[in-house]
């Protein structure tokens, strides 16, 4: 070591100071503080006076008695299951059709993959709210012209159709991320593996099932974890397309937290409690996936 030079440990600490400050102030401290808030009565009045009376588990008790909270949780599970499955299936299908270099068109497709990802989430929601609009929307116009509809459908007026619309909008924006990762993983599989399989008489279907899919297992695990945790937090598309409607049929967990904490009656204590429940659920989902699916795959 040079004279006057910092030791490895000190330099590492110094270089990490800004990141550590960020992690502590914007992530760790607020998470702990959310726990504190969830145990206190916090609303506009308490925020103005600065005194937060201790409430014990009252917020959690009110949460468990709120039917809308359970409804929002159920909707969240439906939303997560539907969107994650679709993102993976569509993502894998598109990654497979673009991975063959010998098809000229796939080069064009590859340039276009990230376009939906570039759309801001709230803009995406607004786009889809126009597309499915009952009177002027182009989904109705197109389906009517094709003869698939005899009359216009009010897509956002029906509970299941409204949920399906939000899922479709969300999946459209987020699938490109999966395509990208699957495509990168597919490119990492040497062509000789497939050639050897073909020489041994494997059909394309067999080599997909017996070679490609097993080798994609680690990347599938990564996308499962990331997409599950992110779709638990879906907010922008709900705000822009349904605002939780029709009735309460598309209330999801993040929307519940937002409405309770940041709109009248500004029940921040309750919002913090539901935020904590959401965080625990996301943590459990991530843990289960890591245990179940993540295994390293090596091929010589």
């Amino acid at each position: 070591m040079r004279e006057g030079e910092l030791s490895k440990g000190r330099l590492a600490l110094l270089l990490n100071l800004p990141a550590l400050a960020g992690l502590l102030l914007i992530l760790a401290y607020p998470i702990a503080f959310a726990g504190y808030l969830s145990l206190h009565t916090v609303s506009i009045r308490q925020l103005r006076s600065g005194e937060l009376p201790f409430a014990g588990l009252a917020n959690f008790a009110r949460l468990s008695e709120d039917p809308l909270f359970w409804l929002a949780l159920r909707h969240t599970l439906v939303f997560v299951a539907a969107s994650v499955v679709l993102e993976m299936v569509i993502g894998l299908a598109i990654a497979l059709v673009i991975s063959d270099e010998r098809v000229w068109l796939s080069r064009l497709t590859r340039v276009l993959i990230l376009i939906p990802w570039a759309v801001p989430p709230v803009v995406n929601g607004l786009l889809w709210s126009f597309i499915v609009n009952a009177q002027f929307g182009y989904l109705n116009r197109a389906l009517y012209k094709l003869g698939l509809l005899s009359d216009y459908v009010n897509w956002l007026g029906h509970p299941w159709l409204a949920m399906a619309t939000v899922v479709a909008a969300y999946v459209w924006r987020t699938t490109p991320f999966n395509i990208l990762l699957y495509h990168a993983a597919l490119q990492g599989i040497p062509a000789q593996v497939y050639e050897a399989a073909a020489v041994d008489g494997a059909s394309p279907g067999q080599s997909l099932r017996l070679i490609t899919l097993p080798l994609l297992r680690p990347v599938v695990a990564v996308t499962l974890i990331l997409r599950t945790t992110f779709s638990f937090m879906v907010f922008d598309e709900i705000l822009a397309i349904t605002q939780g409607g029709p009735g309460n049929d598309t209330w999801v967990a993040a929307w519940y937290t937002y409405r309770r904490a940041f709109q009248p009656p500004f029940d921040i204590g309750l919002g913090a409690a539901s935020a904590w429940v959401l965080a625990v659920m996301v943590g459990l989902a991530a843990l289960v996936y890591v245990r179940l699916v993540y295994r390293r795959v090596e091929y010589a």
Binding site: A19, V103, P121, F130, V222, I268
Partner: protein, 295 residues
């Protein structure tokens, strides 16, 4: 390489056409909607193509609601989002640039330490970054709102920037670590033999060599900041400080929705990140893959 049997070739072509339709089809109604007047879209609700094309929507938005022209002359009510759009665009540019630079500086220092100065606690920090990426944003917004309110940071762009830098920092570190780890250590060792300290070697050798990684991380940070709705929505309520997503979210609660105007404003709002993704695609792709798979 083996020749492709014709059946597979046809199947792959069809698959690619479907993929392109999936990726682009939702834009068709948006573009068609933005290029017509509200009258034309309401007149014939069965037509696919507009009766008349006009750029009036774009002219109105870009002039902040001043250049009304014949189409909007009679309109007494215009959504507030129209007049707020130009200043919101500027705010988003400001926040996006500041967040990109702030997070990039902090993340590159940290990522270098994590990739090169391997110590037990730096590895724990890397794992903490992976975990903190999964914390739902809504969980953080409740306490951040109370804290920012307490320290008078609400309604300031600086507050939004600080919050976004903090929230994006772990992801930026995850993107950058693989780039630094992939650089051959020999180059640094050579610089150190020539008399550089570790810090000098980092500034003069490692940073210039990892420019592609910094570019990838930077463009992704800017895009994510441009997309962010919840943070500015909750931390800012004054109209002159709103960013593009907040102003666009304001269209939702408007009583009279002008769909044609809404589609034009949406296209303008998504244009910057679309251009970035298309022009810097190589960097975006590598950054996203690096941040997800190797971190």
């Amino acid at each position: 390489m083996m020749r492709l049997p014709w059946r597979r070739r046809v199947a792959l072509w069809a698959g690619n056409l479907c993929a392109i339709a999936f990726l682009l089809l939702p834009f068709v109604p948006v573009v068609l909607g933005s290029l017509q007047s509200e009258k034309s879209i309401q007149q014939d609700t069965r037509a696919l193509l507009p009766g008349d094309y006009t750029l009036a929507n774009f002219r109105l938005i870009l002039s902040g609601g001043r250049s009304k022209g014949p189409i909007f002359e009679q309109v007494s009510y215009l959504p507030k989002s129209v007049e707020r759009f130009p200043s919101a665009f500027f705010n988003s540019l400001l926040v996006g640039s500041a967040v990109t630079f702030g997070a990039l500086i902090a993340a590159s220092l940290s990522a270098y330490a994590l990739a090169r100065l391997r110590l037990r606690w730096t590895q724990a920090l890397l794992q903490a970054s992976v975990i903190s990426r999964m914390v739902p944003l809504v969980v953080l917004m409740v306490p951040l709102y109370v804290l920012f309110r307490r320290y008078n940071l609400l309604n300031s762009l600086a507050g939004v920037i600080v919050a976004e830098v903090g929230l994006l920092l772990p992801y930026a570190v995850l993107i950058l670590v693989p780039y630094f780890a992939a650089l051959p250590p020999d180059l640094e060792d050579a610089a150190r033999i020539d008399g550089c300290t570790r810090w000098q070697a980092f500034l003069r050798v490692v940073l210039p060599l990892s420019a592609p990684g910094l570019a990838a991380c930077g463009v992704i940070l800017f895009i994510l900041s441009w997309h962010e709705l919840l943070v500015p929505l909750i931390l800012v309520s004054r109209p002159e400080l709103m960013t593009v997503p907040v102003v666009l979210a304001g269209l939702v609660s408007d009583y009279f929705v002008f769909f044609t105007l809404m589609m034009a404003i949406c296209l303008l709002g998504l244009l910057p990140t679309l251009v970035l993704v298309l022009t810097l695609q190589k960097f975006v792709v590598r950054g996203l893959v690096s941040g997800a798979l190797k971190g």
